[in-house]
């Protein structure tokens, strides 16, 4: 394998994978909580919350990046707080790239998870209640297992989206080799240099392969957990 990629390309691919994996793993609980609220909650301001969650999907990514810069920059309110209490900084760091990827992936993950929660037959939950199950027990033995295929699909979609994240990342944390230069940023950077078509092609093929692998993985995961029902997400 090491002969297939240059050291530079390895660094780019591994960084992309790290940024996306961290972004998705940290976003799963947040996305699930939001999906649950939107699927099952009844509260004032639900429409507004729904809109805010979906905002990164429709905002120009450069605006999202700029908002992240204001909030999570070294002098931003959230950025300063996280730096003081947890020692986390985002500026020009891969953590910032992960945060940008997480914010951009959130709407997709919430959507997929919300659909899977809404698809759980409430009548099965009623049946479980008559059999003596408390709401917590119903959640962990009925609702959650039945929603798992959709949750996995949401996570994989989020991962694929994170791999492709560009606009918010370059605005928020710039394009720094080894730190924030993920696949799309590396491709963009190579495009600026005359005569680098070969490298652009190679990096683009890697991007296609990674995205394809993520989508196939999600199908396989969902089929395996479908109790032989052959459910799928795509």
């Amino acid at each position: 394998m090491s002969g297939l990629f240059t050291a530079d390309e390895w660094e780019i691919v591994l960084l992309s994978l790290k940024v996306s994996a961290v972004a998705v793993v940290l976003t799963i609980p947040v996305a699930f909580a939001l999906a649950w609220l939107l699927a099952r909650g009844r509260f004032a301001g639900k429409v507004l919350l729904d809109a805010v969650v979906h905002l990164p999907l429709v905002l120009p990514p450069v605006v999202t990046g700029w908002l992240l810069l204001i909030a999570f920059g070294n002098n931003g309110p959230a950025g300063r707080w996280l730096n003081e209490w947890l020692g986390i900084t985002f500026m020009f760091r891969w953590t910032g790239a992960a945060l940008a990827a997480a914010v951009m992936a959130l709407p997709l993950m919430v959507r997929a998870m919300r659909l899977s929660i809404e698809a759980v037959d409430r009548r099965l939950e009623d049946a479980a209640a008559t059999l003596g199950a408390s709401p917590m027990h119903i959640f962990s033995t009925i609702t959650l297992p039945l929603a798992v295929p959709g949750l996995l699909a949401g996570a994989v979609l989020g991962f694929a989206r994170s791999i492709g994240e560009f606009g918010a990342t370059i605005t928020f944390v710039s394009n720094i080799p080894g730190e924030t230069r993920t696949l799309p940023l590396a491709i963009y950077g190579a495009l600026q240099i005359p005569g680098s078509e070969a490298q652009v092609t190679r990096l683009s093929l890697i991007a296609v392969a990674l995205s394809l692998a993520a989508l196939v993985a999600s199908e396989v995961l969902v089929r395996r957990s479908g109790h032989g029902r052959g459910g799928h997400v795509l």
Partner: protein, 208 residues
């Protein structure tokens, strides 16, 4: 063991009302579709909250709007057999049967898995997934699941309606044996007169 039911609930344009007292045996709630039979059953189970009224089973108050009593569904110990079975699709037959059994307190249990599978003739189905069962098999499993949760009474909502004639006969004889051998009070919803005449110890007419 008896049912003392007096409930009222507004559902959209309709007002569901039922008032009856029934001793043990199988009490059929009989009436046309849309009369609110299932809603009455759900109010006894605790799945639907009456606007006002009382629900007593075996002298125990499960719901009383005036006294502010509303026992939670999971504590009512009703064995509910649904029209559509409602087996959990992600659990094998064995785990469906044991779902309520595992949650019941050991001293409240009055049936074992072996006893239930013998009684219903479903021992050979234990390792199957619900989706692979025929309609009659699924309904027997769902009856077994309800019996195993240590219920003090049974609620049955048209348990025969999704079955063809031979399967109906098979499940009907199961219900007769439930009624006669287990001496469990049963509230039974149906819109089929022949079925009601054969099974019911008493009939409550609703709506129409």
């Amino acid at each position: 063991m008896s049912f003392e039911i007096q409930v009222e609930r507004q559902l959209g344009e309709r007002t569901i009302r039922a008032e009856f007292t029934a001793p043990g045996g199988l009490t059929a709630l009989f009436g046309p579709s849309g009369a609110g039979k299932t809603s009455v059953l759900n109010m006894v189970a605790g799945l639907l909250k009456p606007d006002r009224g009382r629900v007593l089973v075996g002298g125990e108050v499960l719901f009383d709007s005036e006294a502010g009593i509303d026992v939670a569904v999971q504590h009512r110990r009703a064995g509910y057999v649904f029209q559509d079975g409602r087996l959990f699709p992600h659990r094998r037959v064995r785990d469906n049967l044991l779902y309520g059994w595992a949650l019941a307190s050991p001293e409240a249990r009055w049936m074992t898995l072996d006893h239930a599978t013998d009684f219903l003739g479903i021992g050979h189905l234990l390792d199957r997934w619900p989706r692979t069962l025929s309609g009659g098999e699924a309904q027997r499993v769902s009856i077994g699941r309800a019996l195993l949760c240590a219920p003090r009474f049974l609620l049955m909502d048209e348990p025969l309606s999704s079955l063809d004639a031979p399967r109906r006969e098979e499940i009907m004889s199961v219900i007769e044996r439930l009624r006669d051998k287990l001496e469990l009070p049963i509230l039974y919803v149906s819109h089929d007169r022949a079925e009601v005449e054969r099974l019911a110890s008493q009939v409550i007419e609703l709506g129409g």
